[in-house]
């Protein structure tokens, strides 16, 4: 029982990331009809927003300490972050420590701007082209973006820590009546899950309870009719692209302390997120979220030693296996509706 609870918890944070990326993918596909293979790169750029803020906060001035030497035997150059001298060592250290949450504030406008530029500068030229062209151009864009990140930040993962207060783990087992150390779960992953829930809720509320959201939903259902009513649906959809980019970016920012960001992390999530979208049902936002968590938890279960000993390698294929079964039994996915994205 404890192992089952543990794997459900493990699946939640991975599922949160899948759900957030798939949510953005579905928004873009649903509104613009574009298959955006650069969406994983937006997640990666979000994570590097956290890295960048961490580096900015660590910008330092140099002083020479003649009492120590560097690796060449020269007097040691000691670097002191500016924030330490501006706010004092303790407050300065706390500010640096909170670089990931601070990065959220910067990531939102940056990601929206990147989304606008991507949509207006490149993707709008491919609206009327076949999906194959869209996939090729967005996949190419993803490679360009990840190579740019690699050029500026290198190929090695970059440690981006969570604030001290969220380091360590929470003993869920004790809470549920198990022995200590049986079910433990890192605090930051709980934060990530809660954050994902808030973002998902906010996106749904935005689409459900605002006029803007109503127009977008109408546009997703019947773009032509909404256009005939005199509404500039293209402009609304561009904003939705920016919003989807921001959701992916925020998912990336908050993911940085879970796994050290590297230039390739977007690609690692992209393919699985597409499977999530298809399993959830093309164009279905609740479907994307449901499938994200479902597949994240299933993937976690498939990594259990007990299951791997019976079915070796199952952790590598479980998502695709489940996708095949669901698509065979429900060709429109879990929550796909008849007539949506089928023309």
């Amino acid at each position: 029982m404890d192992a089952i609870i543990l794997q459900i918890l493990n699946g939640l944070d991975k599922g949160s990331a899948y759900a957030l990326i798939a949510l953005g993918l579905t928004l873009i596909f649903g509104t613009l009809g574009v298959v955006n293979f650069a969406h994983g790169a937006l997640f990666m750029i979000g994570a590097f927003c956290a890295v960048t803020v961490q580096r900015i906060l660590n910008l330092s001035y140099e002083t020479i300490d003649p009492s120590q030497t560097d690796f060449l035997g020269n007097p040691l150059v000691v670097k002191t972050p500016y924030v330490h001298s501006w706010f004092g060592p303790e407050t300065g250290a706390s500010i640096i420590e909170w670089s990931v949450p601070i990065a959220i504030i910067f990531a939102i406008p940056i990601m929206i701007a990147i989304g606008f530029i991507m949509e207006r500068g490149l993707i709008k030229h491919f609206y009327k082209r076949p999906h194959a062209d869209q996939i090729l151009v967005t996949f190419g864009l993803a490679i360009v973006l990840q190579e740019l990140i690699k050029y500026f930040y290198g190929a090695n993962p970059i440690q981006t820590g969570a604030p001290d207060v969220f380091r360590g783990s929470f003993d869920f087992g004790v809470l549920l009546g198990f022995d200590p150390n049986v079910i433990i779960y890192p605090y930051w992953r709980l934060v990530y899950f809660a954050f994902a829930a808030v973002i998902i809720g906010a996106v749904f509320a935005f689409l459900q309870f605002t006029t803007f959201g109503m127009v977008v939903r109408a546009g997703m259902a019947d773009r032509e009719t909404v256009g005939l009513l005199g509404i500039n649906i293209d402009k609304k959809f561009t904003i939705m692209f920016g919003l989807a980019a921001a959701v992916a970016g925020l998912a990336g920012v908050m993911y940085a302390p879970i796994n050290s960001p590297n230039y390739h992390m977007g690609m690692d999530f992209l393919v699985l997120s597409f499977v999530v979208v298809v399993v959830g049902g093309m164009g279905s936002l609740p479907g994307a979220v449901l499938a994200g968590f479902l597949l994240g938890i299933l993937e976690s279960f498939a990594s259990m030693n007990e299951i791997k000993s019976i079915l070796p390698g199952i952790d590598q294929i479980i998502i695709y296996l489940v996708a095949i079964i669901i698509l065979l039994t429900r060709p429109r996915g879990l929550m796909g509706r008849k007539g949506v994205m089928e023309d």
């Binding site: 440690q159 993937e299 976690s300 030693n305």
Partner: protein, 448 residues
């Protein structure tokens, strides 16, 4: 009756053209004149540096390339000479190799076996490289070594730590300076025993490819010999990025040590995840829970940040060594590039010098002459103390460094501290040791 237009002059002209045409490929293949592949001309010789320039190990590849460029500079008489003055063999004099200026071409392994073979093949067939060196993965090293054996060129491997490279996949044309998984385990186990005692239960997470398998087999055998029990060994996919579902069951397994047989990004992520799950703060079986990383890379330890503090592992070489050779190399590299070299840079630099020295001592670029010069070669002054290139398997035997993540680093490069320099005798093994059995060295292939 048929009538032909054949004339004596026409037949002679056609024959001459056809003869020249047939002879041309043979002429262009200069090697055939010398009896070996890519025999150099009188003025220059081309070496092929096959390193990961893209992909997850690109930073390590970049450091390897810096080391190669430095080695070429020193071989051609430039710079401060680096380790040339400290090298026990004084055959190299800074005039290139056998009087020929050293030039180089580069390839990108992408840390993929097929891409690495393709780039090595291109350097051999199109660019005339007479020796291939580099790489940051055992899978790549084994693949490229096989290609070089077939092509008849020498392969001086870069960073490859699997037992198989000089074990079941060894080749006569291939040579490894870097240490291997067995040596890591043989050096590390006594230190672990001293630090953590002999009554320990170890849980292994192992990268599911040649290096991971041999690393796990070696460290499990060495620690079990001290009395440790191996509770479980879980193979993790090389492409895995989140190890939480593999780490979560560790605490319920009864284990009090987690051994991460991971390298590169895998190591960074699995170690980070293990620390996130609070493993290092736990007490199991009345003891502090410990984590071990058998193979450390300073470049990649940076990615794990402060999570490496206090964690034991091993390394082939470290820039903080205080012997004259290491100091000379660190000074040379640090002055040129502004930061200390990695262990990957060191082994690549040394391999280039060793090849050049072997050619010079042999007086020939013929791969079989080079093999003969390197086999059984004893040397010193290249940063690892007295070293032997064993003839039986072309593996270097030298001291091994046991290191620990530093508690108070003074800079971003100062992440590891040397705990012990394990003497060579302690990490030696018989050529027919079961962990290295199954392959044949074969005979050298000069190609052409």
């Amino acid at each position: 009756m048929s009538k032909t237009n054949l004339t004596r002059r026409g037949v002679l002209q056609t024959g001459a053209v056809a003869g020249a045409g047939l002879a041309l490929p043979t002429y262009l293949s200069a090697a055939s004149h010398s009896g070996f592949t890519n025999a150099p001309g009188d003025s220059s010789v081309t070496l092929g540096f096959n390193v990961p320039q893209t992909g997850p190990y690109a930073d390590e590849g970049a450091d390897e390339l810096r080391a190669y460029e430095l080695a070429v500079e020193h071989l051609n008489g430039g710079g401060d000479g680096g380790m040339l003055p400290t090298f026990s063999s004084q055959a190299l004099d800074g005039t290139g190799i056998l009087g020929r200026k050293v030039e180089y071409v580069t390839g990108d392994t992408q840390t993929k076996s097929d891409a690495a073979r393709a780039s090595a093949k291109a350097m051999i067939e199109k660019e005339g490289a007479i020796m291939i060196t580099g790489g940051s993965s055992s899978g790549v090293a084994v693949a490229v070594q096989g290609l070089c054996q077939e092509a008849g060129v020498i392969f001086m491997s870069g960073l490859t730590h699997s037992n198989d490279t000089t074990g079941k996949d060894k080749k006569a044309n291939g040579f490894r300076h870097f240490f291997n998984a067995y040596m890591s385990a043989a050096a590390l186990a006594p230190v672990l025993s001293k630090m953590y005692g002999n009554d320990r239960k170890a849980y292994h997470l192992t990268a599911d490819y040649t290096w991971g398998w041999t690393q796990q087999e070696s460290i499990a055998a060495a620690t079990e010999a001290m009395g440790w029990e191996t509770v479980n060994n879980v193979l993790t996919p090389l492409a895995a990025t989140d190890f939480s579902s593999y780490i979560a069951p560790v605490l319920n397994s009864g284990a009090d040590v987690l051994v991460l047989n991971h390298y590169g990004g895998n190591m960074v992520n699995s170690l980070t995840n293990a620390v996130q799950f609070g493993l290092r703060d736990k007490q199991v079986n009345g003891k502090n829970f410990e984590i071990v990383v058998p193979l450390y890379s300073r470049l990649m330890a940076r990615g794990a940040g402060e999570n490496v503090k206090g964690i034991f592992g091993s390394t082939n070489w470290h820039w903080s060594l205080q012997d004259d050779a290491s100091k000379a190399f660190v000074k040379s590299f640090g002055t040129k590039y502004g930061f200390p070299p990695s262990q990957a840079a060191h082994t690549c630099y040394v391999q280039t010098l060793l090849y050049a020295d072997a050619v010079t001592r042999a007086g020939s670029f013929n791969p079989c002459a080079v093999v003969e010069a390197l086999e059984g070669f004893e040397f010193d002054g290249l940063g690892n103390g007295p070293t032997l290139y064993r003839a039986d398997d072309h593996q270097c035997f030298k001291d091994v460094l046991v290191v620990k993540g530093k508690d108070n680093p003074t800079s971003e490069f100062d992440l590891l501290e040397i705990v012990e320099i394990t003497p060579r005798a302690q990490v030696e093994y018989a050529p027919d040791h079961p962990m290295f059995a199954g392959g044949q060295l074969g005979s050298c292939n000069p190609g052409a």
